[in-house]
Symmetry: C2
Subunit: 239 residues, 2 copies
């Protein structure tokens, strides 16, 4: 189901409403990593801020917890940096850009191997999408063309971060999130977890557990839609 | 700027709130096509209804206007069907699926040539995205992987159909439409027109005019954001 070595926090969003960047989740990150050092991968960032600034933001957010942060872009040998990392953190932004950059730098296999051999992994938003089977359920705009939609395949399903239910009062005729995921399922036999802002998955000892303040929604060809309560282990769904 | 032969209606959405499928736009379609026959391309449809049913929906919507509708899937020789068409209508759905199917059937070049040589073209939503430079500003979920994001390049810019402004009261932390388009512009020097539901572009005699009930928003590296009023010709923006 999921490799017993894998340790990961797969987080819907870096920021929740009314709270600073990573503020609501930084205790969790500290407890989880049990290390004072992490490598940050800023490649999803398309908004014009540079890798240094994005890394600085993470550094500042984790400063109080005495976690040292270095950006992967600072390393000449990035594969080695991933192999030697005590913890890897992949930040949010645009999933297409993240995936394209990782493929171009030939880091996908190295990253997957590090995670499967037990290097703790933290992802937010695009960094969480990356751990699924494909990026086919991202909400992002396809601003660049990656050489493939295949992702790290750590999770035996896909994620939809920032999941939200349709507004029953909306007059907008674009597809709802639920419709989009249903359409994905027609084209792909890959289950999808809709992970709301404020939620995350914790992967430890072969078990995936939903954490945080919200429930999540599980979509699959077999089960259609199912609500997952916070605290629930997902093994039963994955059989 | 734009080929003088091109005749097209590039429509944001097939359906507006409180109105049936194509209802608000069918008079316009009738006046524009000035023909009693069109070929419908249903390939964007991912929702589980089949090509026949989707074509039937269009047939019913245009019945009162005595327009005969045939689906492209009914033709053995699809290239010939496109070359011989009196009008071509590409319906909405998923832009990735539409593009992938058209590439797989090797219809992109034929379609582009037909439009550039004066066959009237109608597109809604995904069918409108298709006329831009790339599909890089679609709102759709990437449920399938097309061999390229390159589109028909009839318009000298990209479209964002179903455009809507950010809700100032939203507590959701996913990117707004405006942010997404700004991020596209950092990665691509291609202008983008945000086309709201209820709006369309009419292309006739080398001129592109915004029509319908709403204004539109023009995004480019040069101009940042600019409001386009309904009725405005776009030539001045394209210099």
């Amino acid at each position: 189901m999921i490799n017993k070595e894998v340790k990961a926090l797969i987080i819907s969003t870096s920021t929740i409403y009314g709270s600073d960047f990573l503020e609501y989740i930084r205790e969790e990150i500290k407890d989880f990593t049990q290390t004072d050092e992490l490598i940050f991968i800023p490649f999803a960032q398309p908004s014009g801020i540079n890798y240094d600034d994005y890394t600085e933001k993470v550094k500042n957010a984790l400063q109080a917890h005495e976690i040292k942060v270095r950006g992967i872009h600072e390393f000449e040998n990035k594969k080695e940096a991933i192999r030697d990392a005590k913890t890897i953190f992949v930040g949010g932004g645009n999933t297409f850009l993240l995936l394209k950059t990782l493929y171009e730098l030939d880091l996908m296999t190295t990253l997957r191997e590090a995670i499967l051999s037990g290097t703790p992994y933290i992802g937010t938003s695009a960094g969480s999408n990356l751990t699924g089977q494909t990026i086919g359920t991202t909400n992002d705009m396809p601003i660049v063309y990656p050489p493939s939609f295949e992702a790290l395949k750590i999770l035996p399903f896909n994620l939809n971060p920032h999941y939200l239910e349709a507004d029953p009062n909306s007059t907008h005729k674009g597809e709802t999130r639920e419709q989009r995921i249903a359409e994905f399922l027609i084209q792909n036999d890959i289950a999808v977890l809709g992970l709301k802002e404020g939620s995350w998955l914790e992967i430890l000892e072969g078990e995936i557990t939903l954490k945080g303040s919200e429930n999540a929604v599980w979509f699959s060809r077999k089960n259609k839609e199912r609500i997952i309560e916070s605290g629930m282990r997902m093994s039963s769904l994955l059989q």
